[in-house]
Symmetry: C2
Subunit: 521 residues, 2 copies
């Protein structure tokens, strides 16, 4: 995520008991020492760059002097801390060694330096360091965590009297995901197996102290991402305590009026960001609903249900006289990164979707009055949507004053089950056939399409779409699934520079969820 | 120093007992916390740059975002470690903060970045750092030692949602020089007092674990510099153990055949460099001679005399059939940085100068045979010089096959007392009047001119030359005396870029020696 809003007169409300519960669930990180698979050369390749194997493994570099460089391939996407030895050959070092290090999840990132960057979001996301080593030999331990597969090391200078040798390069990879907990698959389809494998790697690298959205950027706990990570987690790494921890964090650190924030920071202390998103706040309801469905943890459900209910109350306050969520000019609801996308219809559908989940939770808790009230609200919101947003002539839901057509509006109304099942199937078939208006652009939005297709028995289309979209990322060389993938514009970035796109992004890891939920025999 | 040579088949010979003695004398460093005097603005000023006061003290910065910068003036030259606090204002930091720091002994250095540098010696001497701060607020402690007066901090990026504030900036200055040990001066001349003050500051900043040549560059123990530092030390900081330590280090870590190296490194372990210089090796003799004359430490004299004698033996091996030091095309003897300077005559004079000091030490130790042998060698070398290098028609010593004229040849023959006293005075007067051949370029060479003038009763000319040369550095804004100062070319650098010149250099700190030895009543 990157575009942001800021709620007015923001303050954080802390529920210390919830926060304490969350902190007690902090996971131990599993560390693995990984050495480079070999040295590579980054070469231009059409519009992109590729890492060309040099045919050598890597134990230590040749002696390197001013301007020499070395590019290492760690064999797969890695999240962790890097250390190496730097020794000298020649005369005793009579000047410091100065090195530039650049880390890339993909080869292209190694070609974009901090000083070349012209993107819109912070250049501080470029994983580039400049280090001086005054005393050689030295054991260098870089203090920051990086997300990368490739490491380029350029010797800015040594001196004419000595050169440096780089050796013993190690990435201490970190994750809270335990591979041993992942159930085996009973599938033969190599495409699906590949999708599952890359999903797991993506999940693994995003599972840290919390579920991060991306280990390179933003390295943060976003509610929208958490919802999909949690769903995938239940059928893969099954670290349910990590989901529970995140739920307690969101409930323990709210914004004004008990609103659940769009994201949390964990350092230097846990705190909620001042960004509020209509859909993300409601996804607290979904996360809690899904958590209970997966775990049966009634105590947590009971303790956190009031927080969930509060999000529904706050959302219902946003309805206009017609019962439709009030549209806004600001970045108030996420849905997807589609250019010019109007959020009103999607927001309405998500409100209905989560009112229904709230109803279910109230029923599970035996709160009949609350269940009835929420069911009524869901019914009214659905009817308002049918009255005001459904365009019968076109056979699509429209959004905003300009009655915008978009895929995501249809997808969310399908998920919210506002039409009857047969109508929903036909709606989805029309979407696939007619491609109405603004397309889906993120894997996050594609997830919801696949989910709608799967839920409505359109399994064949779902699998085809999944293989077409995520499968294409793998064919493009993805080690982990990307934050952004536009099949019509492979090099797109909403940030003005692809180098700061996240190439390991939690919201893209859901093929494993679909495969294990709907396709594993 | 920067141009280097490398002796063939170099190996280090270690005298562990000497090394142990040296290490037992390692000084404690005195630390002082220094805060910035204020914020300044670096402005173009003719061919140079100046630090313009902003009229504000400095407690903390304004909030700084992408591209904003801050320049702090620490009020005087500093050698030490820098720490500061970085806090954020605005929303919780949603991206790392990335800062570029640049340290300068003079304002000009802040205008030369690592990527702009086109000098010949290593760009790693440019005091520039790039840091990423992932978690705010942060207490930043830079691990490297810097030599500087000015610190420029540029915010490469934060994010649109927050800015950083820089506060609590502290330089923990380090030195092994104790100001309390410096005798008071009984002088009224403000020019001389200023020369003494700047000399002391230069000495102080170069006195660390050993006598360094320059705390910015090379941060190393060079014998040529040590000789002048020691002489100045005896009449200022009087840290005689630090001289003793350096003598034992040079004697304990020699090159092939017991040759004393031109310089030593202290980290990661004490070691001698592979650079050999004819004059510098002989200055071990001078340093020991001067140390005994200043301290009367007979035990050290006796223990290290063999090392001194060995340097004389090795030097005498270099005499040709005429008894003249063999000239070479390589960088084999230092003397000065003069363009095209031939070293033969200066080397011959230094050999005579040190043979005489060797003779004196042999006498002090009651080694009559050795004294006689050294006296004879000195006499023969002097006669050879008069026969082969003295040009009676011109009234100057000439150097090399092309009979080159230079100031430094005359200066060193004056110091070696090869002519009788009256002739030496007239030689020096001719030098000052006729300015023969290659001029002096470094303060190190000027030192030897002043010393020759002082020793030969030409005090008035000595003081005028000192006030003209070092005084001009002060008028140019020097806080500490510079490694290089060419009155005909203020912006000269032998390194292709003035930013890597050292602006606090030990060999330039001798006005205090002259003032306290020859001028203090």
């Amino acid at each position: 995520m990157a575009i942001t809003n800021k709620i007015e007169n923001f303050h954080m409300e802390v529920n210390q008991a919830f926060l304490d519960k969350a902190q007690a669930l902090a996971p131990s990180l599993i560390t693995t020492e990984i050495r480079p698979a070999g040295a590579v050369k980054i070469v231009s390749c059409g519009q992109d760059y590729a890492a060309q194997e040099t045919g050598q493994g890597f134990a230590q570099s040749q002696p390197l002097g001013r301007g020499d460089s070395l590019c290492l391939d760690f064999g797969d996407h890695r999240v962790g801390y890097v250390s190496f030895n730097l020794t000298s050959v020649g005369s005793p070092p009579d000047a410091p060694a100065c090195l530039r290090l650049r880390f890339g999840e993909i080869p292209y990132e190694l070609t974009v330096g901090l000083s070349d960057y012209r993107g819109e979001i912070s250049s501080s996301w470029i994983q580039e360091e400049l280090i001086h080593v005054d005393i050689l030999p030295a054991q260098i331990r870089l203090p920051r965590r990086y997300a990368f597969r490739y490491l380029e090391l350029v010797v800015i200078d040594t001196s004419p009297k000595y050169q440096v040798v780089v050796g013993d390069v190690v990435c201490t990879a970190v994750t809270s995901a335990d591979r041993a907990a992942v159930p085996a698959l009973n599938l033969g389809d190599p495409e699906l197996l590949a999708l599952d494998r890359v999903s797991l790697k993506t999940m693994e690298d995003c599972m840290q102290s919390v579920f991060e959205d991306g280990p390179k950027r933003d390295r943060r706990l976003w509610l929208g991402d958490l919802r999909l990570q949690a769903q995938t987690n239940y059928v893969t790494f099954r670290n349910n305590d990590l989901v529970k921890r995140c739920l307690y964090l969101f409930a323990g650190l709210t914004q004004n009026e008990g609103r659940v924030g769009a994201c949390l920071f964990m350092e230097p202390r846990p705190q909620v960001d001042d960004t509020a998103l209509f859909d993300y706040a409601l996804f607290f309801v979904s996360c809690l609903h899904d958590y209970y469905a997966a775990t049966g943890d009634r105590e947590t459900l009971a303790e956190l249900f009031p927080t969930a209910e509060r999000q529904l109350e706050l959302a219902l306050r946003e309805l206009d006289g017609r019962g439709i969520v009030t549209d806004r000019d600001t970045w108030w609801c996420f849905l997807d990164w589609g250019e010019g996308l109007n959020k009103q219809a999607g927001a309405q559908a998500i409100l209905i979707y989560t009112l229904k989940q709230g109803t279910a939770m109230a029923e599970w808790l035996g709160k009949a009055d609350r269940a009835a009230a929420l069911r009524t609200a869901a019914g009214q919101a659905s009817q308002a949507a049918l009255d005001c947003l459904w365009d019968g002539a076109q056979g699509f839901f429209v959004s905003g004053a300009e009655r915008q057509l978009s895929w995501i509006s249809q997808v969310w109304f399908a998920l919210a089950k506002v039409l009857d099942p047969g109508e929903t199937v036909r709606l989805l078939q029309r979407v696939m056939a007619q491609k109405p208006g603004i397309p889906l652009v993120t894997p996050y939005a594609y997830h919801h399409l696949i989910e709608a297709l799967m839920e409505n028995g359109l399994r064949e289309q779902a699998v085809a779409a999944m293989k077409g979209y995520w499968g294409e990322m793998i064919r493009e060389g993805a080690d982990t699934f990307w934050e952004l993938f536009d099949t019509n514009d492979r090099y797109a970035s909403p940030y003005g520079c692809r180098a700061v796109n996240s190439f390991c992004h939690a919201w893209s890891s859901t093929p494993a969820y679909f495969i294990r939920t709907y396709l594993n025999p």
